[in-house]
């Protein structure tokens, strides 16, 4: 598996979820799903 491609696609995956570059869900992403923990 090409590591550079993997890292890039991982970033894209995080973005699709509305997560930060570190993979942390943003407040907006949580609000959009009405998640209150």
């Amino acid at each position: 598996v090409n590591k550079a491609d993997f890292e890039k696609e991982l970033e894209e995956y995080y973005k699709l979820w509305g997560w930060s570059a570190e993979g942390v869900p943003s407040r907006e992403a949580l609000d959009a799903l009405e998640i209150r923990l």
Binding site: V1, N2, K3, D5, F6, K8, E9, L10, E12, Y13, L16, W17, W19, A21, E22, G23, V24, P25, A29, L30, L33, E34, I35, L37
Partner: protein, 558 residues
């Protein structure tokens, strides 16, 4: 939705209702259990601490008149990974549990002596299990189901009692909530079994619609899934073997020339004695198999077991794989993590990092299935070198220094199943991002990439959108709770079909957007749980070997 709360320390019960808003937004099963675990577990609690919750959960689809309605969910913090863990099992326990009038059980605390929970129409009772402690899975189920007529028992074996970090919870003798150590958490609570017998009606909003979907599903699988019904998952050996993606010798290769010796035809023609099925299943993908060499009869092995006890150990003895499957079921252990940890030990031995001094005199060499079976026995009994095998590959390798870590094939501590991601590269991203570790059932990227061939399997590029969609869809399945083989074979992994089933089961009048949010919600809560426990982006990766050691032959690309 009704939950039974069991405090094992205080020997107390409480019945609570799930708030309607949670039932609508999380549905049940894995999603709802993840929310409860997040809210009720103390952050960073040790998985074996009595405060770690052990949650048995069904969904609104479990036990209804639809098809593939047999599954139940178990959620806890994993002793193998330290991450959130959801495991699922079929058979007959789930539907019987739902007939008791409950939808889930939340265990906390630790009993002073071994106990089992008996739950019937009359309510819950904790009973002495001293006479059962030490007995294997088959003995325990036989005793309990004789003692409590018509009941179904979900139990642990010696591996769970002895805290093997990938011990399973077993029901119907051979059905397993297998991965990540739910059985070890149960053992840490001195809880030997959960025995259920109910006669109540299972709530279902539109029973006629669900019956109709059962008929449609039956017709669909009879027409389109003839091979899957005949071979079960053993047919996958032929696909991965021919395609060069079957893990071989601890992922040193993905080409196993002898794959046909452990494949579907050899299995069905020489070993299968009958087909078996879960409740309300028209597929009958379960296979009872016999080994005359070892005198053992088992249900399975499934594909993952064939690959990990087979090619990944350089082993082409199908009899030995059947026997290993039997032993794992008897002791109550996950076949995948057990086999992979043994493969890690084999490679450490090959590289000279381990010797016979470490293994108690057992020489480890690829293809030596007698040594493999010896290690399975030692692990199930947690004896000698088996103690370390029972810790999983990450901890086994860590015991022998940093160099050994290169040979521990896992993600977040959970060992890989039977798909080499170098030849199915969407699975590289799927394994890395899975909330419970290297799991093939959080997103089946191998279906579009390998089985259907509609995505280029030799690149990871462009796979994120499909993966995200599958993560949402599969979290929804696990929240309903629906068998994934049924979802694929009878319902074409289709959101529209899921919308119809969700509404027939609940009557909540969901839209497509609503159910996509249910999937996304469950997945996100699992992510939040893992972040709180200290996992980071660094854990969303693969063992270095998969980035640096090529295995796919270029000629295959053409």
């Amino acid at each position: 939705m009704r939950l039974l709360r069991v405090d094992l320390t205080a020997d107390k019960f409480e019945t609570t209702e799930v708030p309607k808003d949670d039932a609508v937004k999380f549905l049940g099963g894995r999603g709802l259990a993840a929310k409860i675990l997040y809210q009720e577990n103390k952050p960073k609690v040790d998985p074996f601490d009595p405060e770690n919750r052990l949650i048995f959960m069904t969904g609104p689809y479990t036990g209804t008149m639809g098809s593939f309605t047999a599954f139940y969910n178990v959620t806890t913090k994993s002793p193998l990974t330290g991450a959130i863990l959801s495991a699922h099992s079929g058979g007959h326990w789930g539907p019987m549990f739902r007939k008791t009038g409950y939808d889930g059980i939340i265990f906390k605390g630790k009993a002073r002596k071994p106990v089992y929970l008996l739950l019937t129409d009359d309510g819950p009772e904790l009973k002495d299990a001293s006479d059962l402690w030490g007995k294997n899975v088959f003995e325990t189920i036989d005793i309990l189901q004789k003692r409590h007529e018509k009941a179904r028992a979900a139990v642990i074996g010696p591996a769970g009692e002895k805290l093997v970090r990938y011990a399973a919870i077993m029901n119907d003798h051979h059905r397993a909530a297998g991965r990540g150590g739910v059985g070890a958490v149960m053992g840490s609570k001195n809880l030997k079994a959960v025995v259920v017998h109910g006669t109540r009606d299972v709530p279902q909003a539109d029973e006629e619609k669900l019956k109709e979907t059962f008929k449609t599903a039956t017709a669909t699988v009879k027409e389109k899934s003839v091979a899957f019904s005949k071979y079960g998952t053993s047919m996958v050996v032929g696909i991965t073997g021919k395609s060069g993606v079957i893990p071989t010798r601890n992922f040193q290769s993905a080409h196993f020339p002898d794959f046909e010796k452990i494949g579907g035809d050899a299995f069905v023609n020489n070993h299968v004695t009958k087909n078996t099925a879960c409740a309300r299943c028209p597929l009958h993908c379960g296979k009872e198999a016999k080994s005359d060499v070892y005198g053992s009869t088992t249900e399975g092995p499934e594909y993952e077991t064939l690959a990990m006890f087979g090619s990944n150990l350089g082993n082409s003895s199908l009899d030995s794989i059947i026997h290993a499957n039997h032993l794992c079921n008897m002791y109550g252990m996950d076949t995948i993590s057990c086999a992979d940890t043994i493969a890690c030990a084999y490679e450490l031995f090959e590289k000279g990092i381990l010797s016979e001094k470490d293994t108690g005199g057992v020489k480890l060499a690829w293809g030596d299935h007698e040594a493999m079976l010896k290690l399975v026995e030692m692990t199930g009994k947690r004896e000698g070198f088996g103690k370390l095998i029972g810790e999983g590959s990450r901890r086994l390798a860590a015991a022998y220094g940093p160099e050994a870590g290169k040979y521990a094939m896992n993600v977040k501590g959970m060992e890989f199943p039977g798909y080499d991601p170098r030849g199915i590269q969407g699975m590289a991203l799927a394994f890395a991002t899975s909330t419970r570790g290297a799991c093939h059932l959080r997103a089946t990227m191998y279906v579009p990439e390998l089985f259907q061939g509609v995505l280029d399997r030799f690149t990871v590029r462009g796979k994120a959108p499909t993966l995200k969609d599958l993560h949402q869809l599969f979290t929804l399945y696990d929240s309903m709770v629906l068998c994934k083989f049924g979802a694929r074979n009878a319902f074409a992994n289709s959101w529209d079909n899921m919308l119809m089933l969700c509404n027939a089961a609940t009557g909540f009048g969901y839209t497509l957007e609503d159910i996509k949010k249910i999937g996304a919600r469950g997945w996100t809560v699992e992510r939040m749980f893992n972040l709180r426990e200290g996992l980071t982006k660094k854990d969303d990766t693969l063992p270095e070997r998969l980035f640096t050691l090529p295995t796919v032959r270029r000629r295959e690309r053409s």
